[in-house]
Symmetry: C2
Subunit: 233 residues, 2 copies
């Protein structure tokens, strides 16, 4: 997924990023650029570029005469899709998934409310199409096909909200839904009630019923929270 290995510095990041976000280097740890360059068998120029990227994510801080210091998690750019992917691939994946699901439960109902106001006819059609796709694949272990439509559905809602901050959470939601299907709550078939809610939501948005769209989305995200044993926030 995404962009694996776009150059040597990318290869370095693929190893170093997950290592840092996994806590292999405790906050305050000091690394040296030259040593890292040797370890990864790349030139210092390449290593410096990698460090610059980590620095822009606030994972590390580079200071003269000191070295490259690992920053505490509280400073990390946790909204960076790359950081999210690294953390989801690591040990505290469950914790991460909970944080993101709570975030969804805050954002998506408001996004759905706005979508009911601003969705274009084309977006409404896409929504219906996605919902039908979910229904069609909701039985018979078609989890992969179901997931595709589920992800597409939520992306359209977020896009249709007309708010770019919401729209950009599409990737995050995709990661959460994919993670749920592949690793965590591996149900045989999706919850029929959830499928129905999506169909009704598509209809509510098409009808421009903002209040109902919001409420239906609250029920959907509530289900997601309950799957992770999170009591309603």
């Amino acid at each position: 997924m995404s962009t694996p290995g776009r150059g040597l510095h990318g290869r370095v990041l693929d190893t170093l990023g997950p290592a840092i976000t996994a806590g292999e280097y405790p906050p305050g740890s000091v690394l040296r650029t030259d040593e890292l360059a040797q370890r990864f068998e790349v030139s210092r120029s390449v290593m410096r570029e990698a460090v610059r990227v980590l620095e822009s994510m606030h994972l590390v801080e580079s200071r003269r005469r000191v070295g490259v210091t690992v920053l505490p998690p509280a400073r990390w750019n946790v909204y960076d899709p790359q950081v999210i992917r690294w953390r989801l691939a690591g040990a505290d994946r469950p914790r991460q998934l909970r944080s993101l699901t709570v975030l969804r439960s805050a954002i998506e109902p408001v996004a759905a409310r706005l979508a009911a106001r601003h969705a274009t006819p084309e977006q409404c059609a896409q929504l219906t199409e996605c919902a039908l796709g979910m229904v069609a694949n909701s039985r018979g272990h078609r989890l992969q096909e179901y997931l595709v439509h589920d992800v597409a559905f939520h992306r359209v809602i977020l896009d249709a909200s007309g708010n770019e901050m919401f729209a950009r959470l599409g990737d995050v939601v995709a990661e959460v839904l994919a993670g749920r299907t592949h690793h965590d709550v591996m149900f045989d078939d999706p919850d029929p009630a959830a499928v129905t809610l999506h169909v009704r939501l598509a209809e509510a948005v098409r009808a421009g019923d903002a209040a109902r769209a919001e409420e239906l989305t609250r029920e959907i995200t509530l289900g997601a929270l309950q799957e992770l044993d999170i009591l309603a926030p």
Copy 2:
């Protein structure tokens, strides 16, 4: 604010970042590393580091034989605090401020609800202190002092939610509140009703009344939306 000029590549970013986010280079524009290095009078190594950072923010994409291509706004990492600051400093500041305020209106009520559950006694004390500070500076053109307490108040709420994704929005809220005070809605004195809501919110969190904390925060963010002429979402 933040970290101005952390090395040469930082100086380059301070110019190039705002230029790109301001749309001075339309999406699809192609830049060449060597040309940029000459223009900014830095070595190619430094320029490459700057480009790598822009690339990690998805502002540009670097491809062999082509050059550095500017990406469309839809691909930008709009949650990157650096990108947010660049955009708030640019021409579409009002639009940006609206997006962020809508985001606040989705996040903060849920954060307040969680804060009512998880806030430590110390956080409750901080909240009360901030609220009192707001009251004390709500009259007599003490906008600067009022702002400090207002920002601190919302930061404590977001932190106390116990959700790291919420907590990391503290900087964003700070930017929005600061922007409102300094440029946009320059009222003589803060709205007394808003001040009262903050006092009551501090009390609700202390009392552990989740529902009331959420509702009071909805009223606060509703006020913020109305100031920007955004009809309730």
